[in-house]
Structures are given as structure tokens and as C-alpha cells.
Symmetry: C2
Subunit: 197 residues, 2 copies
């Protein structure tokens, strides 16, 4: 069975999920597909021009504390980013362009680590280049983010996310079922294991 | 250790949490306090005059499917209410008035069952009276919902919820930590067990 992991690099709860999902899928013998998309257009259609965690500060304060507890419990390093949300367009276009490459999982985790464990600016090409380097890829790949192929692929993925009923990140889709949130990761994967096909 | 369970009778995710929390607290040797409050004033302060699940239909559709899966997995009966959200003011005032009575836990579950398993109108005094009857209490208690004591107590609880940083239901508070959602119920109770006191 196959599971699609839909994520956005600016999303806080996508961070622990992205760090865990490959390992959890492998343990269950599931095939995992990385599906980048942008939350910006989805939030805009709901009338939000910023993260709801900024628009509703009470909810935002809760989220950061909740994320601290989650990361501590799971041994995932967390450093409150000095800027939130960060613009993940550049690395998201790279993921859209190289979705099926064997190094993409490590690249995704590297970008999340830069944002949420190292407080680095993931819209900065030099930061993205250093993550590419850490997964054995050259900085020359950066230029691919500006290709029409990468741009149209990421737009298409975002349209696909909307068509699937996705409204937040992370989301997991398997067997026609949608699961939203890091706290549904295990439920989604277990659903895939039980699913008839 | 003590855990406070903050709930609103109109809230969907409060339903499975309310059905489970007493048993889960007892298993861990924790003291549980029932804390009713109203989401209406909190939502209004965020600019919402309806449930966010109605304001954002894509999120609403997801929530109902998610709730189905949660209830099915836990063996909790669910019947999609023909009206959502229902006004839980009457039973919430009764809970505020009789918070520490030994029958209050069964009364809370009975009201939730009426709303989410039997599709009954929990703002209807005859429905509330039948739930009172099912927990061995007379319909004469209904009049207490109109008492100044009940009204001011529920108002005070809602103010207290806001002061605690509560923005949704269910919420659990223990040892100065806030946990939001049915999916944080076990985390909250486990935190209470580990907490120094």
C-alpha cells in the first residue's frame, strides 16, 4: 500500500511528522510518496494572509508549547525559529522537481532541520545549497527551482491538494482517506496497512 | 495529581473525550474535575459567529469523517447530528451548578450521547430532564439552570478558561500545562502521572 505525505516547509507540525514518516512507513512495509504543496494559496482562500498561529496569538502560544512537548517526547531537536512562518517556496520547488530522487527524503528533513532546529533562513539559496550539499547534491541544482517544470509542478501539486480536500499540513492520504496532522501520522499508516488495496 | 477536563456540549471532539476521560483518569489514579465552559464568547472574540467547522466547510467535512474514524476505532456510537452546533447552555449551567455531585460524570456523558449518538436536541428541557432521570435525578433540578448561582458560575468558568489560554474544546489542564483536543487526552493524563505535584 501507498501513502502520500503532503507537507509545507513553513508548517510547524509538519516538522516532527517529516522527521518520522519515512521510518514509520518502512516499519509497516508501506511505500511513501513525498508531496510538497503551498499553504499560502489555501489560507488566502479562507481569508488569511498570515499563519493562523499568528492571526490567533492564543492558539499560536499553545502551538509552540505543544510542539516543544512533542519534540521533547520524541527526541527531535527544536529551536524556536526567529521568523515564522518562513517562506518555503524555493526548497518546495526543488522537491516538486526531484520528488522521486532517492535523496529527496534526506533533503526534506534537512530543510526542516534548518528551519526548526537551526533557525536558518530556508528561503536563502545559500542555506538550501548547504542542505543539498549535505545530501550529496551540488549547488548547481538550485537553478532548477526557477525552471518552468519545477514551478508548474508545484502549482499542480497545490491544486491537487485542494482537490483532495487538504486544508492544512501535514496531511496524509491513503486509500481515499485524508488524515491531518502529526498526531494522525500513525492512524494514517495503520489505516494503509489494514486497507484492502 | 489532579486533571481538569474543560468541555463544551456543542463540541464534536469533546464527545469521544468526555466518554473516555473518567475511565482513563481512574486507570492512572488521577483525580478528575469536570469544567464546563462556553465556546461561543471565545469564538466571538476571534470574529467567528458560528463553529469554525461551519465557517470553513472543507475543514468541517474532514472533521466529520475524522470523528467517524475515531468513534469507530474506540467503539463509541456516533450519529451525525441533524443540527450542528447544538446550543448546550442549559445542560452546561446544570453542570456548573452541580459540578462536584457524584452523578455529574454520568450526566455529562448522557448529554453528549443525546447530542452525538441519538441526535436529540440538548437545548430542549424535556431531553435534559430525561438525561437527569437516567442518572437518578428528578426533573425538578432543571429549574436550577435558571438560578443566578448557575449562571454566574458558568460565566466565571468561561472567564477562567480564557485566562488559562483555552481556545477550543476539549482542553485538559494539569500542573500548569494546557492540552487541547481528544487526541491529547492520553498525553495530558500521562503528563499528570509524571508531574512532580
Amino acid at each position: 500500500m501507498q501513502v502520500d505525505f503532503w507537507f509545507e516547509f513553513g508548517s510547524t507540525y509538519s516538522y516532527p511528522a517529516a522527521m518520522r514518516v519515512e521510518n514509520e512507513a518502512r516499519k509497516r512495509g508501506l511505500a511513501l510518496r513525498w508531496r510538497p504543496f503551498l499553504l499560502g494559496p489555501i489560507f488566502k482562500s479562507q481569508g488569511w494572509t498570515d499563519s493562523p498561529f499568528n492571526i490567533y496569538p492564543v492558539k499560536g502560544r499553545y502551538m509552540w508549547r505543544d510542539l516543544e512537548r512533542i519534540c521533547e517526547e520524541r527526541g527531535i531537536p527544536l529551536k524556536h525559529p526567529s521568523r515564522f512562518p518562513r517562506n518555503g517556496l524555493l526548497p518546495a520547488r526543488l522537491v516538486a522537481r526531484f520528488e522521486d530522487e532517492p535523496w529527496i527524503a534526506a533533503f526534506v528533513r534537512g530543510i526542516y532541520r534548518a528551519n526548526f532546529a537551526e533557525d536558518r533562513e530556508i528561503s536563502d539559496p545559500s542555506v538550501v545549497a548547504s542542505v543539498l550539499d549535505s545530501v550529496g547534491q551540488g549547488a548547481s541544482l538550485l537553478a532548477e527551482a526557477d525552471s518552468e517544470q519545477a514551478k508548474s509542478k508545484l502549482r499542480a501539486r497545490t491544486e491537487e491538494a485542494i482537490a483532495l480536500g487538504i486544508f492544512g499540513a501535514p496531511s496524509l492520504v491513503t486509500g481515499g482517506e485524508l488524515f491531518w496532522g502529526n498526531d494522525r501520522l500513525e492512524s494514517a499508516l495503520d489505516w494503509a496497512v489494514r486497507s484492502p488495496g
